[in-house]
Amino acid sequence: MGTLNLLLTLLAVLASLTCTLLLFRAYAGNGVRLLLWSALCFVCLTGNNVLLFFDLAVFPELDLRLYRLCASLAGILFLLYGFLWEAE
């Protein structure tokens, strides 16, 4: 179970980190602001997944849920702001 948690959370970190890098790369290429807000969202989601990794795989005795939820909330707020900004 511990190994499975380790693998899954590492995959989640890698996936979100890849999305972050791709979005920052695209923003650097074309300057579309929606990409910046999306990239910042994925920075937070990556943070959430890193916390999830430590929470489940490294320190299972700790409860980092509150910090994970805060990171996710910050990410969603970035994305929401980006979509509202672009809608204007």
């Binding site: 999305c19 791709l22 979005l23 790369r25 695209a26 923003y27 074309n30 300057g31 579309v32 602001r33 929606l34 990409l35 999306s38 672009e86």
Partner: protein, 130 residues
């Protein structure tokens, strides 16, 4: 004017600083009378009746121009055309030329750039550029 005039750099400038054709008209007005300090009502009045812009629209475009380092802003919120660096000046010159010589193409490019945010979002996840 060749299509090459709409370079990636110029299109990036349009996307960042010229969100609409009205904004282009306003920017070119500021450029034509670059010595003058403009308030939003004065600029709106100057562009009318050919271009109908509310004072709040003009103020919003002034904000975009300021963020793009195209204008200087006085404490009383008047603005003067003052590009922060020479590349911006060149882009505005290109804009002026495109507006004079190929207005239809320019309008199409401005609105095409404005509407492609979602497309850019999707394209961001392509590992290789097509």
């Amino acid at each position: 004017m060749e299509d090459a005039a709409f370079s990636d750099e110029f299109c990036r400038f349009l996307r960042a600083a010229v969100p609409s054709v009205d904004a282009a008209e306003l920017l070119l007005l500021l450029q034509r009378e670059s010595a003058r300090w403009w308030s939003a009502p004065e600029a709106a009045a100057e562009l009318a009746p050919a271009v109908v812009l509310s004072e709040s629209d003009v103020a919003r475009y002034f904000g975009i121009f300021q963020a793009s380092a195209l204008v200087a802003v006085a404490p009383d919120k008047r603005v003067q055309y003052l590009p922060g660096f020479s590349a911006l000046e060149a882009h505005v010159q290109t804009l002026e030329q495109a507006y004079r010589e190929r207005p239809v193409t320019l309008i199409r490019v401005i609105y095409a750039l404005r509407d492609n945010s979602i497309q850019s979002f999707a394209a961001a996840f392509k590992l290789r550029k097509s």
